[in-house]
């Protein structure tokens, strides 16, 4: 199984992003997803910067995939999308159907986790459109994955999100700006203050969700590190870990070991929050089963 690093879902300073990826370049991760998935206002890196980073990582032996934005509403966002789709150098992860239209039948693409590929018929359609890999929607279980794998089209690779706070929802509204009592159009880029998102607790102090601009994430960290053998037995091709601001090189190496069939270093103390894995077991996503 290959190991992939998902896109950075948070808004970091340019320096922090470059520093993060220089560590990634030296790591043993196979595939690196780059780009801005959440918000078009985030501009510390422009497409040219992402492409330069992609070339650097590629030169270090990484397979690079450029991600498209998950929610595309405006003409300017469509323009940015067209440039990503036509980049001509790197594979693109399509994260909504507008991107699929621009890629289908032209170049192989990755069907991202937000495309709602829930069943074999839809997966077959994506294969015909030219998807070479698909990412299982987060809320699906290992039992559903088993069914999807039993009818997987020829040549289609399967990727599973296996580590990180889960992107659970997208909105036109920015919840970080809302928290800071700012309009979205004048958000003052407050996402920069929250390297791993903004914690939302219930009124009885239970960690519940994470606000990340337009995106709402789980508070807990999805963690399938103890299910790697199961992923292998289900013929999963790629395991995705999603970036957090700290400890990422160690987490990558732990997953690398596990993907190679060896016991990886324990992740206790490395995650930004306690683990959950309910979706994998077909129960509420916030639960954790050992």
């Amino acid at each position: 199984m290959k190991l992939a690093l998902g896109p950075v879902l948070y808004y970091w300073t340019r320096e922090a992003v470059l520093e993060f990826y220089s560590a990634v370049a030296a790591s043993s991760v196979d595939i690196v997803y780059l780009g801005e998935v959440v918000c078009s206002r985030r501009h510390n890196l422009r497409l040219e910067d992402w492409l330069a980073l992609a070339r650097d990582l590629s030169a270090c032996g990484k397979q690079v995939v450029l991600c498209s934005q998950a929610l595309i509403e405006s003409e300017s966002e469509l323009k940015a999308l067209r440039r990503i789709a036509a980049n001509g150098e790197f594979t693109v992860e399509a994260n909504e159907m507008g991107a699929v239209r621009l890629l289908a039948g032209r170049v192989p693409f990755v069907a991202g986790p937000h495309l709602n590929i829930y069943n074999g018929e839809t997966l077959a359609w994506f294969a015909e459109l030219g998807a070479s890999r698909f990412v299982l929607p987060l809320e699906l279980s290992r039992d559903t994955l088993r069914e999807l794998q039993s009818a997987r089209p020829e040549g289609m690779q399967t990727e599973v999100f296996a580590f990180g706070r889960m992107p659970l929802a997208f909105s036109a509204r920015c919840f970080t700006a809302r928290h800071h009592d700012l309009p979205k159009d004048d958000c003052q880029f407050r996402c920069l203050d929250h390297a791993d998102g903004l914690a939302l607790q219930t009124r009885d102090q239970t960690a519940f969700l994470t606000l990340n601009g337009l995106q709402t994430q789980s508070a807990q960290v999805y963690d399938l590190s103890s299910s790697i053998e199961e992923l292998r037995s289900l013929a999963v091709d790629v395991v995705r870990v999603s970036p957090q601001s700290t400890n990422m090189p160690t987490i990558i190496e732990s997953f690398r070991e596990r993907c190679a069939g060896r016991p990886g270093a324990p992740l206790e103390g490395l995650r930004v929050a306690p683990p959950c894995n309910g979706y994998w077991h077909g129960v509420p996503g916030m639960e954790y089963r050992t």
Binding site: I72, G98, A169, S171, A172, P183, D185, L211
Partner: protein, 334 residues
């Protein structure tokens, strides 16, 4: 000028009849199972009531839509496919679909069946909508409730597909079809089971004067005595962020875009949808009657259109004390 068609919810046969009686151009309904996004106990249609509903609608010159707008999982598509076959056999006017595999099935097997793209498809731009048109021949798309009026206008300008928007009712703050918050807490979501924050996971706890509303154990809101205790839809609770407790995601408000009717007409919207298959026949009757009157008034004289006091109070009466908002249509909301 296109006069927008009025598309009204029918959770059961009595609702369907009052919607038709009060001037709905279309009524939309679902079957009694997880193939639709209002999979609630005691709601929806079986074959006999669907057939009677269609007769009733057609006799009054109205049309009927079947919503098959959840996502079959794994190898489970058969049941959803049978629902499509049944709709075609019944001679229904159109089906509302979300899943690409089902859209393809319907387009290939039932070439005469009219297809509407569900809001659950999350198609928020014309590239996406035009793709569904090219591949499956969809006639109409329902837009997610996340676009501003200018963005809606941009979609209409750039697609041959008829555009339907929500005008009134409960409001998802998240992009429809892209929200797994409910399954994160309860194991069941709109996409997978046709439910959000399902009633079976709700628990009310009384502590003296205080009332706690929990969803599978998670405290969604806490009501002091005298506070109106609303249903704990999980994105509409009060939470704590940086020690500040507030409606961190969205207030428990609902959508009312009636004031925007002239602009929606001007943009060229084909249809306006009323949310609420889970609501009572009395609700459906009142909302349909008032919206029919408003659309007719706007069609007659869009320049002079304003929301009449009687309409506003009539809608406020059925809204159960909820605030109304223009939602994403209004730029400030974002």
């Amino acid at each position: 000028m296109i006069v927008p068609e009025l598309v009204c919810p029918a959770g059961n046969l009595p609702s369907l009849k009052v919607a038709v009686d009060n001037g709905a151009d279309w009524v939309y309904m679902g079957l009694k199972d997880e193939t639709n996004a209002r999979n609630f106990a005691g709601l929806n249609f079986d074959a006999a009531s669907a057939s009677e509903g269609l007769r009733y609608a057609h006799a009054a010159g109205a049309k009927m839509l079947l919503a098959i707008n959840t996502y079959p999982q794994g190898c489970a598509a058969k049941r959803w496919q049978r629902a499509i076959d049944g709709a075609a056999d019944l001679g229904i006017d159109a089906v509302i679909l979300a899943d690409a595999g089902l859209l393809r099935y319907a387009a290939e097997r039932h070439s005469k069946l009219r297809l509407h793209l569900s809001v659950q498809t999350s198609a928020t731009n014309y590239e996406a909508i035009n793709f569904y048109r090219e591949r499956f021949g969809i006639e109409r798309a329902v837009l997610p409730r996340v676009l501003s009026l200018a963005q809606v206008a941009d979609v209409v300008k750039n697609t041959p597909v008829q555009i339907e928007v929500f005008g009134f009712g409960s409001l998802c703050v998240m992009v429809e079809g892209r929200c797994a918050l409910s399954s994160y807490v309860t194991g069941e979501s709109p996409n997978t089971r046709g439910v959000c924050s399902p009633a079976k996971a709700v628990r009310w706890e009384k502590h003296g004067d205080r009332l706690d509303a929990r969803l599978n154990g998670i405290l969604i809101d806490r009501f002091e005595s005298g506070e109106n205790a609303g249903y704990p839809t999980l994105c509409k609770g009060r939470f704590s962020v940086d020690d500040e407790t507030y409606y961190a995601i969205e207030e428990p408000s609902s959508l009312n875009a009636m004031a925007l009717l002239p602009e929606l007409v001007n943009i060229g919207i084909t249809a306006i949808k009323i949310e609420g298959r889970q609501r009572s026949p009395a609700y459906v009757a009142a909302v349909t009657r008032i919206w029919r009157a408003a659309i007719d008034a706007c069609a007659q004289n869009p320049a002079q259109f304003s929301v009449q006091a009687g309409w506003a109070s009539g809608l406020a009466r059925v809204a159960e004390g909820q605030q109304h908002t223009l939602g994403a249509y209004h730029r400030k909301w974002k």
